[in-house]
Structures are given as C-alpha cells and as structure tokens.
C-alpha cells in the first residue's frame, strides 16, 4: 500500500529550533518557538492520523449540536403543547397546524434543502458532491425540525441529527483542506456522530453508517467513524445523562420454544413495515404531483389531521419516546397498542408525505414497540405460560420494524441489544428481524432510502443491491489447463517437446516454491535442437519473478496484480510450489461477462 500523503508543513524548520536565552524578549521568543514547534508537530501529522483526530472533534461538535437540538425540541414541545403528555384541546390542534405553516414558509423560502431524507442527503454528498453538505442545511434542519417535531408532527430527531453531524464534518473538512478522498468520507463520519448522539447508541450508529451509507467495511474510515460516534455519545451523555431513550424492563428467555412467539412477531412486523413502505411509495409521488402552491399548506394540513387525532390519542404526536417507555412497561392493553401502532403509521405518513422535515427512525421505533407489545399481549392471552413480558415483545418489535422498514437488519439487531443492554435478547431479535426483513424484501424490492432517492430524481448507489452483488474470485475465472510447468533441473529438450505438443499452453518455470518465471516459448524451441546435456530452461529467455494469485482472491484485486503480465499462476495457499491454475486477462473478462444463468449452470 502506498504511503499516505503528509500534510504540508507551514512552519519553517529554522523557526522550530529551540533558543536558550535569558532576557524577557528572548523568553517571549522561546515561547513562540515552542508554540511553533508544537504546531509543527501537529500539522505534520499524516493525514490518516489527522483524520482520526478530526473525527473526535467532529464527534464532540456533533454531540453538542445534537444536545442543543434535543433541548430545542423539548422546549418547543413544552412551549407549544404544554408540559402534560395529554395536551389541552385548542393547543393540540392549533400548535401543529400553525407550526406547519411556519415550517412550510421556512422550508420553501429560507432553508430550501431541509426537506427529504438526511440519509440520502449524506449519500448524495458522498457519491455526488465530494462530501459537500451545505452548512445552511444544518441550521435549517436544526430550527425547522425542532419546530416541526416540537409542535407534534409525527417525526423523529435522528435523521436531522445525522445530517447535522454530516454538515459539521463537511464544513470542518473543507475548512481544513482535507484531500478529496477524505472529504468524501468525512460526511459518513459526521453521520455516525450525529446518529450516535441522537440514539445514545454508538454501536448502532456505526453499523447503520456501514450498512446504509458506506456499504462496505472500509478500514480506511471505520476507525474515524467509531471515534466520532464514541466521542459524540460521550459528549451527549455529559449533558443529558447515560440513560437510553427509554428504559427497558429486565427479561429472560425461558426456553427455545418461546422463539416461536417472536417468529409470529416477525411476521406481524414484516407486514406492518410493508404497509408503511407501500403507503409512502404510493402516496409520495401523488403528493409531489400536487400544484406547487399546496406545499405551503401541506405541513399545516398534516398538522391539523394529527392534532385532531391527538385530541383523543395524544400519544401519537411527536417522537413519542415517553410513550414507548410506557409500552415497554406494559402500560397499555393490546387493543390500544394496536390502535396506536395503526394511528402512528397513518400520522407518520401524513407528516412525511407533507414534506415536513424530520426523520422516520423515531416513528419506526414507536410503531415497532406498539406492535410488539400488542402481539405479545395477544400471545399472552392465548398462551399464559409465556414468560416474556410485554416490554420484551415491545423491544423486539422495535428491531423488527426497523429491519423491515429501514432494511438494516444488522443495525436492528444490535440496536435492540444496545438499548436493552441484554444479550439474552439476541436470539428472539435475530429471528424476528430476519423474518420481517425477508417479508419486506419479498414484497418491496427497492428499499426505502433508494426509493426516496429515485423519487427525487437521484440515482444513488443502492447499498442493499451492492451488498448482494456477486463478487467474483480468481476461482471463477482461472483455467486449470493450458499451462506447462518446467523445473529448473529439467532438460530443455523435454520442455521443448512438451511445448510442441501443447502449442497454446503458457510455459511457467517453477524456480522455487513461490517463485514463478514466464518462459519465452520461442527461445525454448530455439535452444532445444542444439542443446547440450546440461542445458535447462534456466538458459532460455524468461521474465520474472511474476506475481502469483490464490484462488480465493477477488478478481478486481487480481486485475490490479496482473498489470502487464499476460498470465499469472494461481498457487495453493498450503503449498506454494503447487500450481492450481492460471489466470489471463481474457479469462477475467470472460468471467465478468458471464450471465447469472451461465453462472448457475
């Protein structure tokens, strides 16, 4: 691997030399020299290390901004809806409606980029605009989303938080003149920081960024993502405390038979996530097709509808974490849980489709918890022997809907474990999430974020598709015939005889295990007729040593190794002297051209 670029030194080397003097002026000079020396040390960090250090700074910034954002939402909510969980009648309708008009005005005239999915905006920054996230969007997301969520719109703070993190990271990266490559990667770093602080779950945030934004376990950026996520969570906890978004009651899994109960939850969760997906898929283009002037009133209309529902069911307003907490503690009967899940699904659609800025993570968590609780309650009714509490089902339900709706199964599993702090949950969560994920995939081919991007006219890389792309390895392309291996002690006449018998075969000379040379066929044939008894292939013209491959290496990697070599040996990992085949450029291209049908055959 090539050396990473070194950040340019801006301090003259002469100025770094320490000066030992006694006078006050000289003392000042000494201080200055030390300062410059320190600056020199800092700014001559390799960019990789500098990037890691920057990730911590991004994390701290993001953590602070997310804390302020959450406080802003709470303040807005208390101011607009009152302190009670059940707001009084005129407020519950007026607050989201009037706030909806303000939100629309701000989103249309002041912060034109605040609408839409933050995840897709980060992906757009990464894949389209070289990591550029306008800082105005950060400010816009902060104020507009705080107003929207605080007024009772059924949206969450996580998606805006992750974009704010990405925006901060982007600003810092540009200001510090990072390389293009790092600038492109810095947005996901900020995303992880923002999401981790919003969720108070660093592992889930890291996994989400890998699973949904980057799509690969890139070692180059993983360290920075982890550092940013951890530092942002530490910062956030310093102000808001270590408690997770809701308290999870303790639970245990009594026996393997109980996993069937969670499988049923997986089916229900898959169906619910599909319903929410289809609802958005169906209605969003229709909403976008409405005349432009209606955009001024769409958030207000959504607010009005939510407010009207909120008169009777205020639980569905806002992010709803306090309600999730109550559901976790078995505070609702199954009929109410089911009703709340259905209503939340409806009002989330209203809020999101109206173009009100905000995230879908919190509503997903809400619906999942309610649905899980309802399924758990119903199962308890029919099977009173079940040991799992309603809270356990609600918790697993969160992961289930997350996997089905957002299509991030690994994040979903770890999120539940991270939120509950209990590894006992892993088996039920895996079963339930995988079923929901499978159902969602079977009936909705394009995942939510890709779909939203396409509806917005962007063709962002689909992480899910990329994850499932067939990756070719050397074994898929290599040939086991068409090669002759000569030994250094072999008589050249024998080699020539074999070469004449196989005119198309490549001639490889095995000097020692792991050292292969490419013999010049013509020269072998030229030397053979007059060769003495001691003439061996070593005396013929050859090129080498040539690099060799292993059958499990990726074809892309093999292409890099191949360079100008016409053929590369494929050796055994157990015995470097053993040739398993050869790879040529033509073979490689042929493998890439293979159709899935051919591949199956």
């Amino acid at each position: 691997m090539s050396e990473a670029p070194v950040v340019s030194v801006t301090v003259p080397v002469e100025a770094v030399a320490p000066a030992i003097v006694d006078s006050p002026a000289a003392g000042q000079e000494n201080v200055r020299t030390r300062w410059e020396s320190w600056m020199h040390a800092v700014f001559t960090l390799r960019e990789d290390r500098f990037f890691l250090m920057l990730a911590v700074v991004i994390g701290v910034f993001s953590g602070l901004v997310v804390v302020c954002f959450r406080l802003a939402i709470e303040w807005t909510q208390i101011t607009l809806l009152g302190a009670s969980l059940s707001p009084s009648f005129p407020r519950v309708v007026l607050a989201p409606t009037i706030a909806g008009i303000v939100v629309a005005l701000l989103a249309i005239h002041v912060f034109s980029r605040v609408r839409g999915s933050g995840v897709n905006q980060v992906k757009a920054a990464m894949y389209i605009s070289n990591g550029y996230v306008p800082f105005g969007t950060v400010i816009g997301k902060f104020f507009v989303c705080a107003l929207a969520i605080g007024s009772g719109q059924s949206l969450g703070p996580e998606d805006p938080s992750l974009l704010m993190g990405a925006g901060i990271a982007s600003l810092l990266g540009r200001s510090l003149r990072l390389s293009q490559e790092k600038l492109r990667l810095i947005a996901p770093v900020g995303t992880a920081a923002g999401l981790a602080a919003a969720f108070n779950a660093p592992i889930s945030a890291v996994l989400f960024v890998i699973e949904e934004v980057i799509g690969t376990w890139s070692a180059g950026v993983l360290g920075a993502i982890v550092l940013a996520a951890v530092s942002s969570v530490v910062t956030m906890r310093a102000f808001l405390g270590p408690d997770s978004l809701f308290r999870v009651p303790p639970f245990r899994l009594a026996g393997p038979g109980e996993v069937l109960a969670y499988a049923a939850l997986g089916v229900a969760g898959g169906a619910a996530s599909l319903l929410l997906l289809k609802w958005i898929v169906y209605a969003r283009p229709k909403m976008q097709a409405l005349p432009r002037w209606t955009e001024y009133f769409q958030p207000a209309a959504a607010g009005l509808l939510i407010g009207l529902i909120g008169i009777r069911f205020p639980q569905v307003m806002g992010a709803g974490y306090a309600i999730v907490d109550q559901a976790m503690h078995g505070q609702f009967v199954w009929q109410l849980l089911l009703l709340l899940a259905a209503l939340k699904l409806l009002v989330t659609g209203f809020s999101f489709l109206s173009g009100t800025p905000g995230g879908l993570f919190a509503p997903t968590i809400f619906i999942g918890a309610m649905l899980g609780g309802a399924v758990g309650s119903i199962e308890h009714y029919f099977f009173p022997g079940l040991t799992a509490t309603i809270g356990t089902f609600a918790l697993v339900g969160i992961g289930t809907l997350f996997a089905g709706f957002l299509r991030t199964p690994i994040t979903s599993v770890f999120m539940v474990i991270e939120l509950s702090g209990n590894y006992t949950a892993i088996l039920p969560v895996i079963i339930s999430t995988m079923i929901a994920y499978g159902i969602s995939r079977a009936y909705q081919k394009v995942p939510l974020f890709d779909l939203l991007a396409r509806q917005d006219g962007l063709l962002l890389p689909s992480i899910e598709e990329r994850r499932e792309m067939t990756s070719f390895v050397v074994e898929d392309a290599m040939r086991t015939d068409g090669v002759l291996v000569a030994e250094p002690g072999e008589h050249i006449v024998e080699v020539a005889r074999r070469a004449e018998a196989n005119p198309e075969a490549a001639l490889l000379l095995r000097m020692r295990p792991g050292e292969w040379w490419l013999l010049d066929r013509d020269d072998v044939l030229r030397l053979a007729p007059d060769a003495a008894r001691t003439t061996t292939p070593i005396h013929a013209k050859s090129k080498g040593p040539i690099p060799y491959l292993f059958r499990d290496q990726g074809l892309a990697e093999a292409l890099q190794v191949m360079g100008d070599w016409p053929v590369l040996p494929v050796a055994s990992r157990a015995d470097l002297a053993k040739l398993e085949g050869i790879l040529t450029l033509a073979d490689t291209l042929h493998a890439f051209r293979k159709t899935p049908k051919e591949e199956a055959e």
Binding site: F61, V67, L71, E74, S84, Q326
Partner: protein, 391 residues
Amino acid sequence: MSAASPSTVSDESPRIFSRELVLILCVLALVVLLALTALFSRMYHKKIHTLADAMFAQGEADEQAGQVKAALTDYRNALAYNPSNPLFQLHLAKALAAAERGEEARSYLLNLLSESPGSGEVNLELARIAAHNSSLADAMRYYQGAIYGEWHSDPIAMRWQVRRELCDFLLSRGAVKQAAPEVIALQENTPAGDPARLKIVAQLLLRTQQWNRALEVHRTLLAADPNDEESLAGGAQCAFELGQYVTAMEYFDRLPRERREQPDLAYRYDMTRRIFAADPFLSGLSAEARAQRVAGALALAQTRAENCAHQTGQSLEQSPPQTDLQRVYQQGRDLQQDWAPRYLERFPDRLDAAMAYVFSVENASAAACGEAQGDDRALWLLGRSRSVVNQ
C-alpha cells in the same frame, strides 16, 4: 432533495484559511458551543425538574384525594420528564397497583428491582401484587426480600410491618404451617413494652394456634393493663385451649358479660362453666360434692355410651366385645357398684378410677359417634386436659 455539483462545491466553499487558524477557530467555537450547551442544558434540566416535581406533587395530592386516575396521569407526566427517578416510578407503580392494574405496576417494579435488588419497598410492592394474584411462591420470595431488604427510614419498624403483612397473607391463604415460624419471628422482634404490636402478635399467635406463646403474650399485656378486654378474651381462649380451665374462668370472669357472650367466646365460656360444674378435681370441694360429681359423670357417660350404641346399632352387652366402646363399657360395668356415691365419698381413692372410666367412655363414644355436645363435651375436654396434665 437537491445535491450540489462539484463545481458548486468550490463556489460555495468557505474561504480557505490556514489550518492553524481553522483549528484555533475550531477550538474557540467548541468552547463557545460547550458553554452555550451547558447553559441551555442547565436551564432545561432546571425547568424539567421543576415540572416533574410539580407533577409529582400534584400526583401525590390527587392520590391522597382518592383520584387515582388523575394521579396516574400526573405520575406519568412526571416520569416523562424524569424517567429514571425511582421515586416517581415507585409511586406510579403503587398508584397502578391501587388501581388494580397489577401487571402494569409489576413491570415498573421489576425495573426498579433490577436496579436495586435489595430495596425493601420495591420488594414489598411486588409481594403485594403477587399476593393479590395469589402467587404464593412469588409473594413469599418478595416478602422475604422486603423483610431482609433495605429501608431508608425506620427499618426495624418497616421489617416488622412487612412480616406482619406476610403472616396475614399466609393465614388468609390458610397456610398456617408456613405462617407459624413467621409469627414466632415476629414475636421475637416485638419489644415487650409495645402493647399495640404485642396485641397484633397475640392475635396472630391465636390464629396460628400457638396457645402457649399467645397466653404468654396476653399475660404480658395483662400485666400492663389488667382490664384490657382483648387481652382477657385472648388469654381466656388460650387458657381454654391449653386445658387451663381455672385460668380461663378467671379471665372470663373479668370480662363484661356482653363480651363473654360474643360468638368468639360464648362457646368456650359455656364449656368452661360446664367443666367447672362437672370437674370433681377442683380444689375446695367437699368429699360429698366430689362423689356427687363423679356419680353424675358416670351417669352421663353411661347415657352417652347407650345413646351411641343405639345410634350405631351395636349392643353394649355383646360378648366378646367387638368395638372399643363395648370393650371400655364392659370393663367398667362390674365396678359400677364400687362407684356408688356412698363408696366414692367414703373411698376417695376410687374417684380417679371412676373418672378414668368416664373419660374412656367419652373418648370411645366420640370416636364412634362424633364429637359430643354439652356436658359430654365438657367431660371429654376435661379428660383430655387431665391426660395432658398426667403426661
């Protein structure tokens, strides 16, 4: 959503300063943001704690006013602003339990228990829910957890109360055997100078039929207040059950007539009187009176045996005797003449044998025909107490 193109990036990029300056600005911005966040956070926390406390106080007021539903809403609101506050959780759980929503309360309590497994208060609430659900094993476990758990104020008194509640629960479930050791433990943890608690202990001892211990406690209580009706009644009951009819009668006599005639005492008082009227071993009786009483007892036993034989369709004269009643009856038949009143008066040593015969007949009759009533019952009880004394 729109995304900027690379060219736009350069156009909109902030002015490029030196890295040093940017880093210094970063640090400054961080300090400012940190200070602002700290300020906002402090203001916010102050506000929500004020709100939470106000709602909690409102909840307590509602609860005291008997408005459980309103209290639940207030506690929930308080918890929404301070979710990890164990006091709020506990009050919400208590309010839920009071509203007969035990399962919902249980969930919060289990959460609290996982955080502080030694909390006496949480264990007690869980025990109450388990008791309400008739889950004996869980109730026992949580009550024990509460007894040996942590209590912030007056732990000794709290543990005493919990144990008392456990005893009540066990007795209400009819688990007398399980309750007995708990009541003994309660007695041992009750100070002798606390009559209010001693009375409770005495009642529990009575309910667990630990007559000796109960009598002892009642004596202690009566030493402090000789006219305490409950102690006199309890003492009389214990003495009666222990066969100490003299003591029982002494306590009965000190009770007002109305109290003696109450259902819990009326039967025992009546029996004690009958025993007193029939007992030939009472001190102070003349030889003639003793002989008369024994003769009366013999006649009574004779009648009881005949009635029982008639009732069960057997002949007392059957030879050889087949049943206990026949055997016992025939053993004394030949001695009837020796137990004539004039001989009994003249030979007081025959009293014991005669009464032993009476008691045997009463026992055999009771075994064959069920518990006796009235004077026969009195004789049977007397016989039982004599045998206990003899043993």
